[in-house]
């Protein structure tokens, strides 16, 4: 009797094991791909990051509907870095160790991105920079575990320089917010312009603090110097305040304004018709001007985004969308989310995105997106200004060369880093 009991128990257990093992294997196979999203969700940057995350989500939904990546669904773990490097680093570590993300995407602030990139290097975890523009990230501080699926500040300044070089502006004044981004962009513009055009002169530079409200003194100082053009890396509320105040001094009738921020919807929309015509603005993406050949895809994305967010997508928003697609394709190609293989696959890989063809360069992880320069004008179809006479600079035209990157890294190492 007892032997029969034990015999039946063994059979029962065997059957159970045989049934559950494939089920568990099945579960393991459809374990989701966990992607960490690390952005400043609170405070003033929230305005920008909200749309980026929606961009990520739209891409993930589309990809998941078509079966996911390697048969697995994409899942996001979203955390707030509060625009502080210390908090970002802490959340990055937490996402990797506790939330077990496969890699991390994010970051708006250049300073925060640099801090996180160092931790990614130390922990050997892949960090995909979707927005932060500092060239140092893939330049002198670059390493195999960081890639950027966006442009960098070098492109911005240089695209503006290319566009400025064909005009007859000789005397330049500079104004920018007094932190890394502001200085770097102005430097890139000035250095590149000098290589493209002779006889250009820098009359002076002003560095108001980030968050400056009152530019009256800066405006009068610049007007007194009588420049042909003023190059500005101001953005956000600072730029809005500057444009409003400068208009009242007749600034834009006296000098050409070149702005890295004036092409953004969060400047154009609040200002409405207060935005002057004829300003030169550089921009990554404009929802009403798709890359030739990608009109349908762009329209589809714009419609989806507008429905989810309630407004037209901006550069940072489509960055979330495109970045997610690029990573999904790379995971498919690598056949795994394992860091070393994925990072190696990303470097040197080419993609066909809604923003056109792009390559992630193998020696620095920087994407070769193109950049645009245009002039503001009044378009009757919209209650805010649009851009015309747009010129495009391809990534290869304006990115740092391999030699420049290697030189920068060598110098950085010499300084003891």
């Amino acid at each position: 009797m007892r032997r029969r009991f034990w015999g039946q128990l063994v059979v029962l257990l065997t059957i159970l094991t045989l049934i559950t093992t494939p089920a568990m294997a099945q579960q393991k196979k459809s374990k989701p791909i966990k992607i960490g999203l690390l952005y400043a969700l609170s405070g003033l940057a929230a305005v920008y990051t909200k749309g980026t995350i929606i961009g990520h989500e739209i891409a993930a939904d589309e990809i998941n509907e078509k079966g996911g990546v390697l048969g697995r669904k994409i899942e996001f773990v979203t955390r707030d870095n509060k625009l502080k490097p210390g908090i970002a680093v802490k959340e990055f570590r937490r996402m990797v160790t506790r939330d077990q993300v496969d890699f991390v995407m994010g970051i708006i602030s250049s300073g925060v991105a640099l801090a996180v990139s160092q931790v990614a290097k130390e922990m050997k975890v892949l960090f995909v920079d979707t927005i932060a523009q500092t060239s140092a990230l893939t330049g002198e501080q670059g390493h195999p575990y960081v890639v950027r699926t966006n442009t960098n500040s070098t492109i911005i300044g240089r695209t503006a320089a290319l566009a400025a070089a064909v005009q007859d502006w000789k005397k330049f004044y500079f104004i920018g917010p007094d932190y890394e981004w502001g200085h770097v962009v102005n430097d890139d513009f000035w250095k590149f312009l000098q290589t493209k055009k002779e006889g250009v002169e820098k009359l002076g530079e002003l560095w108001p603090k980030l968050g400056e409200r009152d530019f009256s003194s800066h405006i009068t100082t610049m007007l007194a110097a009588n420049p042909d053009a003023v190059f500005s890396s101001l953005w956000g509320g600072d730029l809005i305040a500057f444009i409003k105040q400068a208009t009242a001094y007749g600034f834009f009738d006296k000098t050409q304004f070149i702005s890295t921020g004036a092409g953004d919807l969060d400047i154009l929309k609040p200002l409405g018709k207060e935005m002057p015509d004829g300003l030169m603005a550089t921009f990554f993406y404009a929802f009403d001007m798709p890359v030739p050949g990608k009109e349908k895809e762009n329209e589809a994305f714009v419609a989806k985004f507008q429905e989810k967010a309630g407004y037209e997508p901006k550069s940072g928003d489509i960055a979330g969308y495109v970045s997610t697609y690029m990573l999904a394709e790379a995971i498919e190609k690598a056949g795994t989310t394992e860091t070393e293989k994925l990072a190696a696959t990303l470097h040197g890989m080419s993609f066909d995105t809604v923003l056109g063809p792009v390559t992630i360069r193998d020696f620095d992880g920087q994407s070769t997106f193109g950049y645009h320069a245009g002039f503001t004008y009044t378009n009757p179809d919209y209650p805010f200004k649009r851009l015309k006479d747009v010129t495009r600079a391809e990534g290869e035209e304006v990115l740092e060369t391999k030699a420049e990157i290697e030189k920068a890294r060598a110098e950085y190492r010499k300084k003891g880093h």
């Binding site: 003194s217 305040a241 009242a248 001094y249």
Partner: protein
Amino acid sequence: MVELLTGDYFVTFFNGLIIALGIYLISSGLSLVFGVLGILNFAHGSLYMYGAFLVFTVMRYLLPGVPGAFWIALIVVPVVIAVIGIGMEIAFLRPIYNADHLYQLLLTYGLVLIFGDLVKLIWGAENQSVSRPAGFEGTIEIFGNLFPSYQVWILIPISLAAMLGLYLFLNRTHAGRIVRAATQDREMISALGVNVRLLYTGVFALGAYLGGLGGAVLAPMGALYPGMDFDIIIDVFLVVVLGGLGSLPGTALGAFIFGELRSFGILYVPQFETLFIYILMAVVLVARPQGLLGKQVQGGH
């Protein structure tokens, strides 16, 4: 060469005046409230911010496209802010008048955080803009130099009117005399039968009105955003501490110094421009802790 210098000098000086009058208008309310109630109201910046955002709301949502909407807003919004101020005073400040200064500071700081988040909830976190009223979008020429007509025709007169109005109120009216007495000796005027409660509420309402007026008047000059309360309160503190807390002439002097140092600083030494005002404040506080024109702080608190 001389003309060039005088040209630059005049523009910079006049610009400094514009800055000074702007910051004076905002700071006057804080200074008044401190002088009478002895409370350093952090949330004064919030009242300023709400003044600006309410003007935005009037022009964008309540009266869009209505000619003269801005002027209506300019008249009505500061009154609304004054009412909010009365509510703030009765609900939050009355219970703590006799509490330690630290508690008062913490409470008003807490109010700043609450009001700040409320702005994000109501208006969102994006930058907003209030356009200048029709006819004042352009420039006006003074001695061959261009200045914004809005600042010249609206900001300067309103700010000067506030300055004059406060002076006349405090020095030529009966109520004003009581207020002045309150800044010197709170306990005594209570002993003399003045309704101190009403006085406090009234003064706070006036301070809030001025803060809201400052926000409304300055709204078309820049961007509106959550966080503008913090940005302005730093400059306001600087001005009132420099000039002497509780002294309105001191606030005016502090504002003047602030405006001119900024204006000339940016012209001549842009790299160190922000440093000057802080160095000056440090020097003044060491040499004369009550500020340039301040009186000794009332004892017993």
